[in-house]
Amino acid sequence: MKLLYTLIPLAPLLAAIVTGLFGRRIGRDNAHRVTIAGVAFSLLLSCFAFFHVVIGNAAPFNETLYTWLISGNIRFEIGFLVDNLTVMMLLVVNFVSLMVHIYTIGYMHDDDGYQRFFCYISLFTFSMLMLVMSNNFLQLFFGWEAVGTVSYLLIGFYYKKESAIFANMKAFLVNRVGDFGFVLGIAGIVMYTNSLAYTDAFAAAPSLVGQTINIFGDAEWDVLTVLCILLFIGAMGKSAQAPLHVWLPDSMEGPTPISALIHAATMVTAGIFMVSRMSPLFELSETALSFILIIGAFTAFFMGLIGMVQNDIKRVVAYSTLSQLGYMTVALGVSAYSAAMFHLMTHAFFKALLFLAAGSVIIALHHEQDIRKMGGLRKIMPITYWTSLIGSLALIGFPGFAGFYSKDIIIEAVHASSIPGAHIAYWAVLGGVFVTAFYSFRLFFLVFHGETRMDKHTAEHAEESPKVVTWPLILLAIPSVIIGFVAVSAVVYGDYFKDVIFVAEAHDVLGELAEEYHGPLQFISHAFHAPAVYIAALGVATAFLFYILAPSIPAFLDSRLGFLRRILENKYGFDDFNQAVFARGSVNLGRQLWEKGDIKIIDGAVVNGAANSVGFMAGLARHVQSGMLFHYAFAMILGLLAMLTWFLFV
């Protein structure tokens, strides 16, 4: 089994190395063949792992691959943990990755960086697989930073574009802020358990309850709260939770396939995965859970609002991703880890679908991304149209579709929770439902319905995308419809995560909900007794009214409530604040320290006396400079010996 599991991440890595080093030599076709073969092989093995672990009920695999380093009695290891949680991530990552690989053949067809792109996405797949398969914090951090790096490379894929290379640096640095917390969290784990292995940390966690750490003055902080919040700061960076969300919308500068793979389906969910993996730690700190809940609720609602005023097709979907990540985070906060993972999975499918569909529209319109210049594409692009509709319905939670199950459970779980903050969070996620429905169908109507607003040339050349593009859409549309119905009983209410995710009895809201659960069909009828479905319908209706029936309404509202739009368009000022305070502030601070500290004080004032003698020495040196190097060197060696003799004999 070890060999088999090792091959899962190794196959995409090898493919990435081959295309990366020999891309030009093997040519474009071979580049995509090699990488697709790598990911497909990895997917195949993941399916095998699924059957072995989940269906075959095999015990979780937890073994070391090799010892990276031993120091200070701590073993730093690379190793795999394959259990139900891992297997789920393996399937999601590899499936979406394979779809994106295939799609890329069509999307990047005319791009000079074809091989480079395939190299990067395979490298990404490798990194993500290492992350989810890890059995220790070291490798987790490896994968964590590696996915961030590939994301950096891919956001800046169009390296000539100023906005792209700004966005990728921003993304990396904001992620580093998260990693700063994350690495401290890991250091804390090492301090208290003297090990990096998950199993050791989880085993030691209960003994840490009640222990305190002294941080500010005399105040004693609960150790687990501190550690969990530090770890969660890492998740806030990677999973783009406010206020570390600022990088994700800008990451849309990258080519669309990676927006689907990295910035929607997989990498950004790493934080959600991590917290779920660490449930035995997080469950022991209610404060940390409350913190997570509040951050998630804020992100879910307020980032969704921004999505309502965006005009770039990808940015609408990006803000939607932020908001949905907020939902997952909320689920973590109320200890509904299974629900968070379930939403992660359904979201991966329908959000990848929505991004790829958006990409399909973008290529059809020759890289036009402004939805105000679209419209009426329904007839021209039927497959993209129908798959987009499916994706949008799944996203807003249309009864029976994938997102319906996962989102409704989260809302119910928040409703049932009694953790501090759950009350506010409930209103936030409920409000989010309206917002989601509105921006999704605003986008949908503006792009596919109504009169076309394209210029003539674009309109004439617009056509349905090629098969390599539409097939991944279709293949992603299928799980977007059915995966919720199929999996909800086992994953959320069943015992799929029984041995993987730990939930304290007091927090077990899903356990409570399970008592009223009687299968996926009954779940639908049950949902009609709750507000979410009606709120979603209201959102769609509003979008229909605004953008199909009476398109004058948005303009009218804008004339009255323009300030609201401006607040949203300024993204609540996060970017401006960061730019002014952190970016410019740091550079200015550096300049001050350099010019005042290094040059003026240290070199100027303190070394001033010495500086004069430096001038004196320089004067001497000029005399000695005969131009003959040997004189020079010889004199120095003599001088040194003379000094040495003097020291020794006197």
Binding site: R176, V177, G590, G597, F647
Partner: protein, 498 residues
């Protein structure tokens, strides 16, 4: 006595250096190439023949030199010194490759000086006699002085004198301390100095004397200002050797002398040492952000990275007080790991700047932009090394930083907090430079006319990249050899000397 590998590693490059100078410019390159590769090969048995289970000095040699003063030509290595020696001989090969067709002005003397310097630096890391150490330590200044003074930039005289004065003044104090201890104990053998009983006051002054030498060398804030000037004026290979090896002599000195000779004074001074290490990490990190000259930026980045070395070393005493001996080892091994890793990465960064400097003759960030358009292969290397410089896991730059952060957290939350800021600062100054230099549209006509690296430059960078990756993926290659020696050191510094 077995085969004198250490003597050979010292004297082969030194004699070869003089020979290179003597034979003149024409055959110099080939001779230097052969000498550097031979030196590297000769040093390999040090790694592969090393017995990592013991802390005693290995590959020992000893000859009476000045018996009336108890000065011996005594050589030997332990797990702390050995990796640095191999690093030195590897960098020497890289230096020859880097100079191959670039240095037109008196290449024989240039290459000879580097070859001689290699031998001297190996001497520093293998000396078991304090005077021998001192002589090697000071002698390395001469070739470096010449290299910067002859092949340096326009302000080379200022830079060399500053460099020389700073470092020379520092080490004179060390010499005084050594002679003082000779008067006390009657021996210059480093092992005897480790055993020498010293009172609290004696230790304090000896510690300060060592500090003067090593803090300048590594360099620590606030005696660091010679380094940016020296780097800026030095020719490419000079910068590479300066950053890769010479700075490590300071870190090595702390481990070989300050800690074991004056453990009580080190413990007494640890708060101060930790504080200025953190200043180096944070303050210098911000200063690096404001640089407009690439070499200055990398020089400041080096100082910041060296802050991790001194931090890893001096948190030891707090951890000892807490009874966490394994944490002590983690910090010290992290410091050594950081030194070795920085040897490869800083050399690579300076060589990258050199590659561009050879073409455009500017180090100003503003003179570049969009280099990736004309030099894609080079850009890939530069981005890779930049990531390594920012401590990316999977590269060697991560290993030492991670270990020191882990050990710092065991010491104190805030020490770890400040140290971990390097995750953000290091990435910020490095990637911002990459953005302005490498990325973007072609910045100007000079960039438009650039040609990508040739195979010589490719292999020069590729060799370094391989080591950076290798250590990043499997640091136990180095970590494995130093446990016994570090454990021994931990025992030494855990026991009071009075």
């Amino acid at each position: 006595m077995s085969f004198p590998i250490l003597s050979l590693t010292i004297w082969l490059p030194i004699l070869a250096g003089f020979l290179i100078i003597a034979v003149g410019d024409r055959p110099a390159r080939k001779l230097a190439g052969i000498a550097s590769i031979l030196t590297f090969l000769v040093s390999l048995p040090l790694y592969f023949g090393f017995d990592s289970s013991t802390a005693t000095m290995q590959f020992q040699e000893s000859l009476a030199w000045l018996p009336s003063f108890g000065i011996n030509y005594a050589l030997g290595v332990d797990g702390i010194a050995m990796p640095l020696i191999v690093l030195t001989t590897i960098i020497n090969v890289i230096v020859v490759i880097s100079a191959w067709e670039v240095i037109k002005d008196r290449p024989s003397i240039y290459l000879g000086a580097f070859s001689i310097m290699t031998g001297l630096m190996v001497g520093v890391f293998s000396a078991m006699d304090a005077i021998l150490f001192y002589i090697f330590f000071e002698a390395t200044l001469i070739p470096m002085f010449l290299i910067i003074g002859i092949w340096g930039g326009p302000r080379r005289v200022y830079a060399t004198v500053k460099f020389f004065l700073y470092t020379f003044l520092g080490s004179v104090f060390m010499l005084i301390a050594l002679i003082y201890m000779y008067n006390q104990g009657g021996s210059f053998a480093i092992a005897d100095l480790h055993e020498l009983a010293l009172s609290k006051d004696q230790q304090f002054w000896i510690f300060l004397a060592f500090l003067a030498a090593f803090a300048v060398k590594i360099p620590m804030w606030p005696v660091h200002t010679w380094l940016p000037d020296a780097h800026v004026e030095a020719p490419t290979a000079g910068s590479a050797v300066l950053a890769a090896i010479m700075l490590k002599m300071g870190g090595y000195g702390f481990l070989r002398f300050s800690l074991p000779v004056t453990p009580d004074a080190s413990a007494q001074m640890d708060t101060f040492m930790i504080a200025i290490s953190l200043v180096a990490v944070v303050y210098i990190g911000f200063v690096a952000l404001a640089q407009r000259d690439m070499k200055k930026l990398i020089a400041y980045s080096s100082i910041s990275h060296m802050g991790f070395v001194t931090l890893g070393i001096f948190i030891a005493f707090r951890l000892i007080a807490k009874g966490d001996a394994s944490g002590v080892a983690l910090g010290i091994e992290g410091a050594i790991m950081q030194m070795v890793s920085h040897g490869f990465i800083s050399a690579a960064m300076f060589l990258c700047v050199g590659v561009m400097y050879d073409r455009i003759h500017s180090r100003e960030i503003a003179d570049y932009g969009g280099v990736i358009n004309t030099m894609p292969i080079f850009a890939a290397f530069m981005v890779f090394f930049a990531m390594a410089n920012a401590g990316l896991p999977g590269t060697s730059g991560f290993v030492g930083e991670f270990m020191v952060i882990l050990a710092s957290f065991k010491t104190n939350f805030w020490i770890a907090f400040l140290a971990a800021l390097t995750l953000i600062l290091g990435a910020a100054y490095t990637l911002w430079m990459v953005k302005r230099v490498i990325m973007g549209p072609i910045g100007n006509d000079k960039v438009a006319a650039l040609t990508d690296i040739n195979s010589r430059e490719f292999w020069m960078l590729a060799i370094l990249a391989i080591f950076v990756l290798l250590i990043g993926v499997w640091p136990n290659l180095i970590g494995g050899v130093m446990h016994a020696s570090v454990e021994n050191l931990v025992n030494q510094i855990s026991t009071s000397k009075y």
